[in-house]
C-alpha cells in the first residue's frame, strides 16, 4: 500500500451533460413536444391559454401522488391504495363538512386521514414485514370499503365556499392553484430525491436492501416515511379533487392508482426499484395530460383513451429495447 503505486481514478468518464442527452427524460421530452405539436395541428381549440390551463387538471392531482409514489417504487415498494385513500379522506372531509367546520379544518382532516392511512400501510409493511403489493391491495379494498359503508349511494355536498379555492382557484391569470402546487411539489420532491441523504438512502434501498441495512441505513424507517408521504400526498390530492368536484361519492378517483403507477413508470422509474428521477415523472405527467386532453378535444371516448395510454406506456418502454436489438 505504498503511496508511490496509487493510481488516480477519474470522477467520471462521461460528462453529466452527455449522459443527460442519452437519458430517458430527454426521449420522453421529445415525445411530449411531438404530442404537443400534433395536438395543435389536430385541433384548432388546442392552442388556447384557458384550454391548456384546463388540461393541466388532467394530471396535477395524480402527479402529486406520483411524486411520492416514485420514491416508494424506487425504494422497491408500491402503494396501490392511493386512490382509496383519496376516497376515505374525501369522505372524512365530507362528513366533517356537514357540521359546518372551516376550510382549514377540512384540510387538516384530509391531510390527517392520508397520513394515518399511509402510516397504517407503512406499519403493515415495515413493522410486520408483509409484502407491500399484498398489503396495499388489501387496504385498497378496506379504505374504499369504509367510504361505501358511510355513503352508500349518497354523496356529500355542502363544502364551505373558501374550500373551492384548492381545486377551482387561480393564483394568476390562467395559472391555477393546483398547477402552482404541482410545480412546488415537483421541486420539493426533486430536491428530496436527488439532493439529500434521504434520497440517497432511497436509491440504496431500492438497489440492495440488505446491503443498505448492512451499511447502517435505517431501511425500515425510510420505507415507513415513504408510505406516510404517499398517504399524505393522497390526502393533498383528495383535498384538490374534492374541492374541484364540490362533492364526494365513494367512487371518487376510482382506479387512479393505475394511472399514478403508469405515470411513474412512464417517467422512467424502474418498477423493480433502484432507478428513476423526478424530472422524468414531471414530463410523464405532461405527456399523459396532453394525450388525454388532445384526445378529448377530438371527442375520442374515454375507453379509447385508456387504450391509447396503455399503448403509449408499452411503446415508450419497449422503444429503447427495440433500438438496442436493432443495433446488434
Amino acid at each position: 500500500m505504498s503511496d508511490l503505486s496509487t493510481r488516480h481514478i477519474p470522477d467520471r468518464l462521461e460528462s453529466p451533460a452527455r449522459r443527460l442527452l442519452k437519458s430517458w427524460e430527454v426521449l420522453l421530452l421529445a415525445v411530449a413536444v411531438s404530442i404537443f405539436i400534433a395536438n395543435s395541428f389536430a385541433s384548432p381549440y388546442f392552442l388556447n391559454a384557458w384550454n391548456l390551463s384546463d388540461a393541466t387538471f388532467n394530471f396535477t392531482e395524480k402527479a402529486m401522488i406520483a411524486f411520492a409514489m416514485a420514491l416508494l417504487i424506487i425504494s422497491g415498494e408500491i402503494d396501490l391504495s392511493v386512490a382509496s385513500i383519496i376516497a376515505l379522506a374525501s369522505t372524512a372531509m365530507g362528513a366533517a363538512a356537514q357540521f359546518d367546520v372551516s376550510a382549514a379544518t377540512l384540510v387538516l382532516i384530509g391531510l390527517g386521514t392520508g397520513v394515518i392511512c399511509g402510516a397504517f400501510n407503512g406499519f403493515l409493511v415495515t413493522g410486520l414485514g408483509l409484502p407491500s403489493i399484498v398489503v396495499t391491495i388489501g387496504t385498497m379494498s378496506l379504505f374504499r370499503g369504509i367510504s361505501y359503508i358511510v355513503l352508500g349511494d349518497q354523496a356529500y355536498r355542502g363544502y364551505p365556499a373558501e374550500f373551492a379555492f384548492f381545486g377551482q382557484g387561480y393564483v394568476f391569470w390562467v395559472i391555477s392553484f393546483e398547477l402552482v402546487l404541482f410545480a412546488a411539489l415537483a421541486v420539493i420532491y426533486g430536491i428530496l430525491l436527488h439532493k439529500t441523504d434521504f434520497g440517497r438512502a432511497v436509491y440504496a434501498i431500492g438497489n440492495n436492501p440488505t446491503g443498505a441495512l448492512f451499511s447502517g441505513i435505517k431501511v425500515a424507517r425510510v420505507k415507513f416515511i415513504l408510505f406516510v408521504l404517499t398517504g399524505l400526498m393522497s390526502g393533498v390530492a383528495a383535498i384538490c379533487l374534492t374541492s374541484r368536484l364540490g362533492s364526494t361519492r365513494p367512487s371518487i378517483a376510482f382506479a387512479w392508482e393505475l394511472e399514478v403507477v403508469t405515470m411513474v413508470v412512464l417517467g422512467g422509474v424502474s418498477i423493480l426499484g433502484g432507478s428513476g428521477t423526478i424530472p422524468g415523472v414531471v414530463i410523464a405527467a405532461f405527456v399523459m395530460g396532453l394525450v388525454t386532453f388532445g384526445l378529448g378535444l377530438l371527442n375520442v371516448p374515454g375507453i379509447v383513451m385508456s387504450i391509447f395510454i396503455g399503448a403509449l406506456l408499452i411503446g415508450v418502454i419497449a422503444l429503447p429495447r427495440l433500438v438496442d436489438m436493432a443495433r446488434r
Partner: protein, 512 residues
C-alpha cells in the same frame, strides 16, 4: 461412455483440444476484460485457470457458457469454429459450468434443481417424475452425495447445495465441465470427495476447466495450467513443468511475499468488551475483550456461529442476553446504524448481497455510511463525496475505470475494497472482517493482510473471522475458537498452533 484415458497415456503434442479459444477479446464500457486470450481444454485432462481477481477468469467462463459474446477471436469446438449465442447453445454443445455463486432454486426439490431446464418428458410431453427421481438418485450416488432427491433445497446446507450444483452440471452429458472455485464452500472431507469426482470425470474423457486460488489443489489435480493477468494470457503449459513460485510470478507479474506482515504486538487499552452474549439458537455465552491495535482471530468450522456473533455485535440480530461495552460504556445495538454510530463496522462475507450496493456507483457506495461528513444539513454535496471516495479507494489501490462506475462491474476483490473503503471513511474504532480474503487471489490477499496490519498499527481494533489456518495463525494476536455456538478456547502465544486450532474447533479427543 468412452474408454478411460489417463493423462500419462496422452501424447500431448498431437492431442486435439475439445475446445480451443484463440484471440478472444471482450470489452465493457471503460474496461477491457479480455484482450486476445487463448485457452485450450483437452479431453480427460484438468486445466487449471489461475489469475488474480479481475484477471478475466469469470469473463472467460461467461464467454464459454454463451452468456457473453466475445468482441473478437475464434472459439473452436473439435477444431471447427463455432459460437454460442445463448447459454442453451453452449449447454447443447456439452459445456456446463458449476459457478462460484451457484444459481439454484430454494423452493424446488433436489431432483427438480438437477433437471431444471432439461427435464425428461414422458411421451405425452409431461414431466417424467419417476425418471427424474431415478436419474437424480443415480447422479447423486455417482458423486457420493447422500441426499434425498425429494428433499426441498431450502433445507440443505451450503455444502450440500454445492453438491446439487455439481449433480446438475453432470446431468447433462457434458464434454466440458467448468468448475469455478468449487471448493470455496466445502469442508475438508467434501473437498476430498470432489477430487475423487474430478478423477472420475477425467477417466470418462471429459475436459475440465478448474478455476481455483488454492495452489495445493491445483498441483494435486490439474494436468495443465493457463494463467491470465489483467485480461491477458501470460502463460500455459503442463503442471509437471512448472513450480508454485513460477505460477505465482506469472499471476502477479512479481514475486509475492507470502510471509505475513510483522507487527508490534503490544495491545493498547480495552475497546470492546463482550460479556455472555447469547442468541436463542445460534450461539451461547460468548465473552471476550478486544484491545486497541489488536487483531483478534475467530476460528471455527463453517456453521460454528462466528458470523452470527459478529452480526449480533453489528446490530443485525438481537441477542437474547449479554452485554456489549465500548470503552467501558455499555451500548445497546439494535441496528447496524447504532453499531456504526458507536464505531463498530462489519465487512460481511457475502460481498455481493450484504456488502456492496450493486447498482449504485462506486463513490456513492463509499460515502453511503459517511454522508454525515460529506453532506451539509442533510443535503448531499457531490464534490465532497468524490473527494472522500477518492481518498479511500486510492489508499486501497482500487482498480476501476472511474468513481462513477457501477460497483457491480468490478471484480470480487475490488468490490471488497469498496466495502472496506466505505467503512474506513466512517473512521471506526472496531472493524470486523468476516472471511476477508475468501475467494480472492494471492496478490490481493497479501494486500489485505498488509492493510489489516496497517489498520491495527494505526490503533484500530480488528476482529478477523477466518477459516484459513495460515491466515489465522499469521495475522492474529489471539484467537477465539468457536464450536457449535460456544467458545471452545482462547489461544495465544505458544498454544496457538495449527493442531490446537483444529482440535478445539472439531472437538477431537485430547483437547482438554
Amino acid at each position: 461412455m468412452q474408454a478411460p484415458v489417463r493423462p500419462e497415456d496422452i501424447d500431448t503434442a498431437t492431442q486435439v483440444p475439445v475446445l480451443n479459444l484463440n484471440g478472444i477479446t471482450k470489452t465493457f464500457p471503460g474496461v477491457r476484460a479480455l484482450s486476445e486470450v487463448s485457452l485450450a481444454l483437452y479431453p480427460g485432462q484438468v486445466t487449471a485457470l489461475v489469475g488474480e481477481n479481475g484477471a478475466g477468469k469469470s469473463t472467460i467462463v461467461k464467454v464459454l457458457t454463451g452468456i457473453y459474446q466475445p468482441d473478437g477471436g475464434v472459439l473452436e469446438l473439435d477444431g471447427k469454429p463455432t459460437s454460442f449465442a445463448t447459454a442453451q447453445e453452449a449447454t447443447r454443445a456439452g459445456i456446463t459450468a458449476i459457478h462460484q455463486e451457484t444459481v439454484l432454486f430454494d423452493e424446488l426439490t433436489v431432483a427438480e434443481n438437477i433437471f431444471i431446464g432439461h427435464t425428461p418428458r414422458t411421451r405425452w410431453g409431461l414431466i417424467d417424475w419417476p425418471e427424474i427421481e431415478m436419474r437424480a438418485r443415480d447422479i447423486l450416488a455417482r458423486i457420493g452425495a447422500d441426499l434425498d432427491p425429494r428433499a426441498p433445497l431450502r433445507n440443505l446446507g451450503i455444502a450440500s447445495k454445492h453438491l446439487v450444483a455439481i449433480a446438475r452440471a453432470l446431468s447433462v452429458d457434458a464434454r466440458v465441465v467448468i468448475m469455478d472455485e468449487p471448493t470455496a464452500a466445502l469442508s475438508h472431507k467434501e473437498i476430498e470427495e470432489l477430487y475423487e469426482l474430478v478423477e472420475r470425470l477425467k477417466s470418462e474423457g471429459r475436459a475440465i476447466l478448474f478455476i481455483s486460488h488454492k495452489f495445493d489443489e491445483i498441483f494435486r489435480i490439474a494436468d495443465r495450467y493457463t494463467v491470465f493477468r489483467d485480461g491477458e494470457h501470460v502463460g500455459s503449459g503442463l503442471i509437471s513443468d512448472v513450480t508454485e513460485d513460477a505460477l505465482v510470478r506469472m499471476m502477479v507479474g512479481r514475486s509475492v511475499d507470502q510471509i505475513f506482515p510483522a507487527r508490534d504486538k503490544t495491545p493498547g487499552k480495552k475497546v470492546l468488551e463482550v460479556d455472555s452474549l447469547s442468541h436463542p439458537t445460534e450461539f451461547d455465552d460468548i465473552s471476550f475483550t478486544l484491545r486497541k491495535g489488536e487483531i483478534l482471530g475467530f476460528y471455527g468450522l463453517v456453521g460454528s456461529g462466528r458470523s452470527e456473533v459478529m452480526q449480533a455485535i453489528f446490530g443485525i440480530t438481537s441477542p437474547s442476553r449479554g452485554t456489549v461495552q465500548i470503552d467501558g460504556r455499555r451500548v445497546t445495538l439494535r441496528s447496524p446504524a447504532d453499531a456504526v454510530a458507536n464505531g463498530i463496522v462489519y465487512v460481511p462475507e457475502d460481498r455481493g448481497k450484504q456488502g456492496a450496493v450493486i447498482g449504485l456507483p462506486i463513490f456513492q457506495n463509499v460515502t453511503l455510511a459517511s454522508l454525515n461528513q460529506t453532506s451539509r444539513n442533510g443535503f448531499t454535496r457531490l464534490a465532497q463525496e468524490f473527494d472522500l471516495a477518492r481518498e479511500y479507494t486510492e489508499r486501497l489501490d482500487l482498480r476501476a475505470a472511474s468513481l462513477d462506475q457501477d460497483v457491480g462491474n468490478l471484480s470480487g476483490g475490488n468490490q471488497q475494497k469498496v466495502v472496506i473503503a466505505k467503512w474506513l471513511a466512517t473512521k471506526p474504532r472496531v472493524i470486523i472482517l468476516d472471511e476477508p480474503t475468501k475467494g480472492i487471489d494471492i496478490g490481493s490477499k497479501a494486500a489485505v493482510h498488509a492493510f489489516m496490519a496497517e489498520l491495527a498499527a494505526q490503533g484500530l481494533a480488528v476482529i478477523m473471522v477466518s477459516s484459513e489456518i495460515p491466515e489465522v495463525l499469521g495475522m492474529s494476536d489471539r484467537v477465539m475458537v468457536m464450536r457449535e455456538g460456544l467458545l471452545a478456547a482462547e489461544l495465544s502465544g505458544a498454544d496457538l498452533t495449527p493442531e490446537t486450532l483444529v482440535r478445539y474447533a472439531a472437538d477431537i479427543k485430547g483437547a482438554a
